[in-house]
Symmetry: C2
Subunit: 138 residues, 2 copies
Amino acid sequence: MNQTIESHNYLRQFAIKPSVQRTAVMEYMMLNRTHPTIDEIYLALSPSMPTLSKTTVYNTLDLFVEKGAVKSLVIDDKNARYDVDISAHAHFICKSCGAIHDIFDVKPSVFQLPVNKKFAIDAVEISYSGTCNQCKCS
Amino acid sequence: MNQTIESHNYLRQFAIKPSVQRTAVMEYMMLNRTHPTIDEIYLALSPSMPTLSKTTVYNTLDLFVEKGAVKSLVIDDKNARYDVDISAHAHFICKSCGAIHDIFDVKPSVFQLPVNKKFAIDAVEISYSGTCNQCKCS
DNA sequence: ATTATCTTTGTATTGATTTCAAATCTATAA
DNA sequence: TTATAGATTTGAAATCAATACAAAGATAAT
């Protein structure tokens, strides 16, 4: 399968050994760019991989984050979210329905890391919140 | 006590009825600007208020956030954090020790909310992460 | 003083995440 | 091929922050 090969290669780029489980998780991330939770990934893959364990999904995402292949988001206070798009962009969470959306039209300078004498800053997360139109109009 | 009166007045400004518990929590927040967790607040007040319930601390902070007297932070994936400083500023979390620090020297424009057709954006949280000097040098 | 309302409390429950040891898989050398 | 070491996966149990909820207590108005 084409997608499988793509996720394979992507994993290799980050020095991640592509096991069946890891490839399936990465393939899911690449096809579903919805900032999924562990549970969503597990529930989506479980039918076609009945032996998959949720612990494996936790382990796998931890590894992906450690290797820099995906970013973990803390925007949602209920669950950890994961983003396969590691480019500089912000996120919006609808406080009503919980959906998370990308916000790309943010000035690049916003993502510049400030220099600080007390801390070595190496990452920034920009999280907007409010209500999405769908929730607003219902 | 002076601090008690101050927190009293502060609560009134946000239309929060100042009960004994609410005043104690707000007083703690004003004297300890360390972005405490629910547990930290509870453990700090518990000795002098033996009947205090942790549920009350949860209820109280929920109310404070709802009324706009404090901001809740999602920067820490382990616990909710609360900040009595509601002015526009960013935060830094040390991934080693977990401490959270204010970052004030961020350009004000960074806190401007983008206009978006799909969402009504009404808040932004800017979270930096890395390692603090204390952790780096030990 | 009585009643209605608001607030606090404690217990029980939920649910995400972690821990951990056993089982399974993979790669390589003998 | 077979043996073996190392890496990965699995499932069960434990942890712990957060929530739900109903009873108890406090407050304010009549």
